[in-house]
Each structure stands twice: as C-alpha cells, then as structure tokens.
C-alpha cells in the first residue's frame, strides 16, 4: 500500500498473505510483557487499598475508645469477670447500638434461654458473637469470617487489644507447658491481674494511667487470625464481643485473690508484645502457646497499629524489640520514638 507500512518492513506486500509465525510470536511476546507488567501492579494496588481499609477500621475503634472514655471516664476492660470483651463494650460507639442492646450481662441468671453465657445454644449472646462486624474484619483476611467454634457461626476478629509486653502465655499452668519460668515482670500469664499494657482482665484503664502518653502507647494491633492453624495445642483463633473461654468463672468458681482460676483465654481478644511481631511467620518454631499472643497481619511485612491518640501506624517486621515493647507499655518510661 504505502512504503511506510509496517508490513513492508517485514519485506512483504500487504493483502497477499496472512501473518507469518514470527509476527504472531512477536505480538504474543509483547502482550505477555504488558500483562506481566500490569498484573502485579494491580495486585499491589488491591493490597494497598485493603491496607487502607484496615487502617480505617482501626481509626474507627480509636474514635470509639475516646467516646467511650468520655462517657465512662475509663477504657473498657480487655475482658471482665463474665467474659465480656473490649470489642463488645465499644459496640455502641461504632454504630452497633442495636446489637449491643440485645446483650445479656449475667454469669448465670437462671433464664433457661438467655442465661448470659456466651456459648448457650440459641441465646441472644451467642447470636451476638455470631454476628460479623465489618469494623473487626481486615479485608486481607482470606478465610470465611464465620465458623462454628463453641458458638454457631462465630465471627472472627482480626484485631487484638494491647495487654503489654509481660505476658507470654494465657494460663499460669501454660508457662511450664511452653518451657518458660515465671518472672515477676517479664514472663507472666494473662491469668495474672497486673499487666503493663492497656487492656487485660478487668483492666478499665484510665487515660491518666497511661503515663507514657497516648501517642507513645498503642491500643489495638492487627493479628493474623487463622482458626485452622494449631501448634503445640494452641490455635490462632480470635473473636469479638464475648468469650466463654476468657470467662474466668466459666470453668471453676473459685478465685484466690490475686489470680483468676478457670479459663482465661485472653488471647481471644488481647495480644502481647512478648513474642515478636508476626511471630506466626517470622518465628515458625516458637511454641504455639506463645505464638498465639502475637500481633501481626497478612499485609506484606508488617501490621497496622492504632495508638491512643487515634493515629494508625504501620510497624514493619524489622521493628526493634525494645521499641516494639516500649510502645506497648503504658507506664514504662521508655524513651522510644516511632
């Protein structure tokens, strides 16, 4: 046709023949390169958007905590003596007031259908635990958000509140199981009342007790929830609103003053900085009882954390342990900046 035609460059006249094999392969190769360039970028953009949504979830919780504190002059307890958890306490402040209104606050009020236990079949409390709440779900989480685990269709939480850096395991007995030795302020269990974080058994921390400052102490972090994963008899399962396993009086009805007996599965709703960030991935040989307390996420190489002042920051896996633990203590006087 014209001497500038691309086809003439290949030494052929147009209109006579079809493409040669070489031309076809060149086209396929070019398309291949384009797809190769585009697809990872699309995936990365999706993940960046998911991370942003996740940070927004945390931000909502941050606002809820401040409104809660304004109302009650204290933060909610990590979990209290009827197994009611922090993420249930802030429900009215994340626009879940109707769900909150259905809850029954009782250890056992004798009501045959709604006795206040979280795992009572067909009860209102069990229904609340089986209600998925988008604010507690990280979009990067890949498993179904609901699964039958003591409570039918129990809804997961991808976020743990911060209990500090002292706790390595949940129950005092598990210290031995995990090969650890109790030390007053470095290696304890959730069953011990005193922790150096913000949320733990019956904590109800006030802002004034967070002497390291709200901008130097994180409240909530992500966790790589995986209810299908178990190691050394411990599962990486985390839930919201109420927990029959975190209820100190569910198993046995005695206390000895300093420690709760019965079950104290605080790992269902709070986490500790005793294990490394993302221990599930970066320390696969760690004992499962310790591993389940770790923060982390399915985002690449780090996790989102909500600070007391309402900011959300991304901690990389490479964060120094003393900085990480310093940011989790409320009154340790650490001179950490992040």
């Amino acid at each position: 046709m014209t001497k500038f035609s691309l086809i003439t460059l290949f030494g052929r006249k147009i209109g006579n023949k079809a493409f040669t094999l070489v031309e076809l392969l060149v086209v396929i190769a070019i398309i291949g390169v384009l797809i190769g360039l585009l697809l990872p970028a699309v995936q990365a953009a999706k993940e960046a958007a998911n991370r942003m949504r996740c940070a927004n979830n945390l931000k909502q919780m941050g606002i809820a905590f401040h409104n809660y504190h304004d109302t009650k002059q204290a933060l909610p307890a990590g979990w209290n003596n009827i197994g009611f958890c922090w993420n249930g306490a802030i429900l009215p402040f994340i626009e879940q007031e109707p769900l909150f209104a259905t809850l029954v606050f009782s250890e056992n009020n004798g009501d045959p259908t709604n006795n206040g236990n979280w795992d009572q079949a067909n009860s209102r409390n069990a229904a609340a635990c089986g209600t998925p709440i988008p604010t507690y779900q990280c979009p990067t989480f890949t498993l179904p958000y609901q699964v039958n685990d003591l409570v039918p269709h129990r809804a997961v939480s991808c976020y743990l509140a911060n209990s500090g850096s002292w706790s390595a395991v949940e129950m005092i007995g598990s210290l031995t199981t995990a090969g650890l030795t109790y030390t007053a302020k470095q290696c304890i269990a959730y069953q011990h009342w005193q922790q150096n974080g913000v949320f733990y058994g019956c904590s109800e921390t006030r802002f004034s007790a967070i002497t390291d400052g709200l901008s130097n102490t994180f409240f909530v972090g992500e966790t790589p929830t995986d209810y299908t994963f178990a190691k050394d008899g411990a599962g990486m399962d985390h839930w919201h609103t109420g927990s029959p396993q975190a209820d100190p009086f569910n198993g046995s009805a005695t206390t000895n003053g300093t420690d709760a007996s019965g079950f104290c599965e605080g790992s269902e709703i709070v986490g500790s900085t005793y294990p490394s960030l993302n221990a599930l991935f970066v320390e696969p040989t760690l004992h499962g009882h310790i591993m389940q307390l770790a923060f982390g996420s399915y985002h690449p190489n780090g996790a989102n954390f909500l600070f007391g002042d309402g900011t959300v920051r991304y901690f990389p896996n490479s964060i120094q342990k003393d900085v990480y633990q310093g940011l989790s203590s409320r009154n340790g006087k650490e001179t950490v900046g992040f």
């Binding site: 392969l25 390169v33 697809l39 990872p40 995990a178 299908t228 499962g288």
Partner: protein, 144 residues
Amino acid sequence: MLAASFLFAVLPVLSGCGNTYTGRYNNLGLVEVNGVVTLDGQPLPDAQVHFEHENKTYSYGVTNEYGKYQLHFNSQKTGVLPGSKTVRIWTTRKGLDSEQLTQEINTAKEQERIPDQYNQKSTLTVTVETGKSQTFDFDLKSGK
C-alpha cells in the same frame, strides 16, 4: 520464542501474587517422619505420638487403624525439627494439652492404655537425623 513469551507472561504473575511468607519453613530443615506403633505386638489405632523438642514444642501424629502415624510440625505442615526428641505416646486425649479440649479432658473417663514410662514420665528418646525422611517404629509393652 513461544516459550519466551510464555515465560514473560507467567513469571511476573507467579511472583506478584504470592504470599510474602510462603518460604517460611524452607530454612528449618524439617524432616518427614513416620512409623508404626504396636502395643504388645498388636497395631495401636488412635494413639497420639509426640516428638518433643528440648524447648517443649512438639511435632505430633495420630495412628491410623494399622498403627501408622505421620508427624506434623503444625496443623498446616508435616515434618519434625532434627535433633534429640523425647517420645510420648497416649491413647487418651490427655496428651493434646489443648485449651479447647481442657473441659473434655477433665471429664474424660477413658482409661489410659499405655504405661507412664511412654508418656508423662517418658524415657523414650530418639534422634532425628537431618536430611532424608525417617521411620521410627515403637513396640510398647503394656506391662506388669
């Protein structure tokens, strides 16, 4: 040329969509271990086999109807870390030490069929060599 274009198209897709942590078990040197458990010469089904590491973590397996087990590092990965292991074998669920099972364990009425020296007070030790998969058979004696 066709192969090259295929590579161009597929390689970045594979690398771009993968989980960042897929290689986390690669450097542990996990060894596949299986074997058969017999009690007084008879294959022992539904027994828990634990290979306990010195730091108290363990790989576990459950025997099938022929007494055969395979060890799991965790619920998603098979294998065991090389080194010296204390072996503990139970027929009741006591060996699990799982919070979820605590309640069931407390009310368990099953009688443990295997003597203490194979579980709670185990003197049974093995050494798992690095590298290739290994077989460990255990012939237990119910005792007296």
